[in-house]
Every structure is written in structure tokens, then in C-alpha cells.
Amino acid sequence: MFDDRYTLAHKLYPYEKHADQDKAEAVRHPVVIVGGGPIGVATALDLGMQDIPVVVLDDHEGIGMGSRAICFAKRCLEIADRYGCGEPMLDKGVVWNLGKVFHKEGKIYEFNLLPEDGHKYPAFINLQQPYFERFMIERLRALQAEGKPIEIRGKNRVDAVDVKDDHVVLDVMTPDGPYKIEADYMVACDGASSPVRDMLGEEFTGKVFQDSFLIADIKMKNVDFPTERWFWFEPSHGSGASTLLHKQPDDVWRIDFQIGWDVDRKEELKEENIRRRLDAMLGDVDYEMVWSSIYTFQCKRMEKFRHGPVFFAGDAAHQVSPFGARGANSGMQDADNLGWKLGLVIKGLAPDALLDSYSEERVYGADENILNSTRSTDFITPKTEMSHIFRNAVLNLAAKHEFARPLVNSGRLSVPCVYDGLSLNGPDALPGAPDRTRVGAPMVDAPIGDDWLLSMIGGDFTLMTIDAEAPETIDINGIEVKRLALTAEGNPELAERYLGDAKTAVYLMRPDQHVVARWERFDTASVKRAVNTATARV
């Protein structure tokens, strides 16, 4: 009755019988999270750090095998950093800057990403998903040791959900049999095939691409194989529309073969068949197989990510093609977005309406991700004869002429969306200020002495002043806004990223490090109004 759906890489939260299971009445919790994957655990970290009691229910006892989401982008790492687990990810992860693009048998060009200086985190790292998850669970354990009210229950499978007006009743199955649990709010982070979504009868719609990827993780016996990303269009070394090779930690390389929809999974997964593809691509290289899998993808999302007291986050809410690494990375932004809003509402500091903005903002983000990954998919697998002709013309010209290279689309790396024009935004009243830090944008990191700007902000509303005066703290109907006083003198990165042509600046930042409003000078009434807008208190 309790078979694992997958093999575990790390058994980190073995089943233990909980006192809730013996209670005659279902025990009510402020927040129950369904799913102990990266997004569920991130949401738990966010809430736990705010001292909001949270219970994570997972139908397994740890982290699943397989490298899976291996590319973690800057914003995702910055969020993990705010949760206190970004640094081990960065230490373990692989950074690459050199990419090569191939078409059929030949290399057409190479590029260097030339990362911008003055950021704690790089544009992205490659890291096997089990490491990413393990660092978060380790952080969760550390927070528990500090007394933060986070629980994770292994082999607790949610079998039924009854959504009431102001709470949810869950039927949970365990190795000791079923029990009931109640939640004021429930966050479903139970993955692309989300059982909770099905239980609620919610639709998951969108443009469906049907394609399969054969993933092979291999360990090179000759470790001087380069740390580069290779992307092939129409590779001559085997069937399929594309092949992607990149490096992971532990001398493991990941190869993704796009092999089409109508494949015999069992046949394709036979080691000799995987080796046939690998050998054709890599030539005379010695390697051992670490892991392989076939996965399929779709580009879809739910219409709304909030249904009363139930929220959907991560793949449960939206799914994209893998090009651009917009799956786990955008899921982390969901957690980042929902955490502080739930916290304020549960503490009685903001009205329920604030929670609607989670859906508004993250649907907006999901659409941007779906648009980008759809375009990449269309470029990589052209659907019509004419789009194929154009695509090959781009690749042909890109080999000789720089102008065609920006048109080559093998995935646009996940970047966080800017919540332009959405309802929590305040005034953008800083003439001459840079576009990249406009209202709605996520903050851009900058060095501050020996520290980093993003390490100094987050979790609360912050008033960041640059060469401008303001009170050290302001209480706005129970929400405390703290000032971070900075100077642009001797800090060209800060000046370039936050002042532009302005001489002084006052930025109001949300707990998730998005810009609420910006002005030249501090003004109490304006800041109050902006905080009230950003918390839906108006």
C-alpha cells in the first residue's frame, strides 16, 4: 500500500509516527505544504524563518535519484542565499562561461558569457538536483535546531483534500494507516502531475509540445574533458532534434538527447542503446554510466495559482520545456513570492487580498517563462518547412556573421520577471534612474564593502537610501520598515545599478527583494502609502 514511486538518493526524513495521528480530532495547522521537493522545502524555509508554523507532507522519505534540474540561475541562488543555503550550492556547483554551438557535424561558433562583475552569485551554476535539495534540507534541520517551527513528515501521502471556505481538510495515508489533518492554508508543491490539482479538479492547459528527452549522466575516466556547454542542432551523431552536453560536479557530464515523441522507452533506455548514441557523439572517450532517464515535457499552466486557502507553486502550477532552465528556477521564485505574503496575512498585518497578488504576479512570471521556452522549442524543433528554412538560415549565417548569433535560440536562461504594472507596485519617481532596477524588478546585487547588497536586505520591508536621509525605522500599522543607509561614493556598481543619472535615491524593497517604489528623497507619507499598496492594505 506504500510503494515508492522512485528510488531515493538520500533518505533524509524517514517516517516517524506523529502525535497528530492518534488524535481523535484532526489537528489544525496554520500552513501545510504538500510535497517535499525543492519548492515545498523552500516555502517551508521561508515561513519557518518568519516563525510561522509549517508542516511539510511528502509521500517519500527523502530526495529522489537523478540529476534532473541541473541548472540553477542567479535569482534562484539569491533566494536560496536569503534562506541561508546558497553558499554550499555555489561551493559545490560548476560554473562555465564557454559555450559552443554545433549544427549537423560541425561547430558553427563559440561564445563566452563574460559575466558582469560585482555579484555574489554567478549567472547560474550546474548542480545535480539532489545536492540542491540536500542543502535545503540541511538548512531546514539547522533551523529546526534553532527552534524554528518547521516539520517535515516522510511517507505522509495526501489522498484526499476537502477545501472549505477558510481551511482545508486533508486525508493523509501513512505506513500506520490514515489520519486527518487540517490547515488554514495549504500550498501544493506536488510536481507536474500534481495529485492535489487533480483532486481539486483544476485544469492544466496550454500549448502542448510533445517530445521526449533521453538523459544520460556519465562519469568521464579522462577528466580533462572541457567544462563547456555544447549544443547541437540536428546532430549528425544520431537521431533527434538536438543534443546538449554540460558539466556537473563530481566529474559527471550530462547529455540530453531530444529523441522525439514516439519512442520505445524500454528499448531506448537499454545501456547498449544509450552507449551507441554517446559513442557516436563523443568519439573515443572512456566513461561509465551514472544515471539515465527519459522524460517528456509540456508547456502548460493553471489559470490561477490560488484557489481559496489553497496555493499551487512550482511545476504543480506551471510547466515549461527544459530550454532555459525555467522550471525549478521559477518555482523558487514562487516560494519567494508567496512566503512573505502568507506570513503577513497569518500575522494579521495584511488582508487576505494580498494573497491574490501571488497568483497575479506568478501567473505573469509563468507566462513569460512559457513564452521564452516556447520560442526556444520552436527554434530547436521548427514546426513547418518555412520555419525550418529560416532556422537553418540563421545557423548558416551565424557561423560567419556575428549579427545572426542573437537569433540562435537554444534556450534563454531563466531570469526573474519584472512585475511591470502589477497591483502591488508603488511610484517610480526617480528621474534618470536605471531601467533594470525599476519598480517591480528584483533587486540587482552589488558589492557593499566586504559584503553584498542582497545579503543585507530581505525578509522584511527595507528602505534603502543612497546618499539620502531617512529615519532608521518606521512603523506602518505594525509593519516595521528598516533603513539600510548606503553611499554611492567609491561604489561605482551601486551608482550604476541604482542611481544612473540621479544624485540620491530612496528605494522601498519588499521582503522578496523586489522594488516597490523609488524616489529622490524620503517622505513619510509616500513611504506609508507605498507599503500599504504593497501589502494590499488599500
Binding site: M386, S387, H401
Partner: protein
Amino acid sequence: MSEVNTKPNIEGPDDFYETLLAAHEGKTKEESDAINARLVLILANQIGDREVLSKAIAMAAET
């Protein structure tokens, strides 16, 4: 000496590419070819400079 600009010059290349392909959606190959031919002539007129046009034609003819 007028030269063909071979540096990236289109803002929002992905948006442009999508617009370009959208013009071909639902068209037969023959219709699409005709769209492309008209587009080349429109863009050529926009450029105007005969020397640039000759060089661009030579570039495109290379394989």
C-alpha cells in the same frame, strides 16, 4: 565604402523572429516564398544603398 552591418542591430531579436515567423503561419510553401520575396524587395528599398545591397546579395548567395 558602404559596408553591410554584420554586428547585431535588432533590439529584441526573439520578438523580431517570432513576428517574422508569424507572417508565415498557415501559409502554403508557395505563399511563404512569395512573402519572403516581397519582404526582400521591401527591405532592399529601405536600405537603398546599391553597394550595400550588392554586398548583402553576395553574402546571402554564399553557402
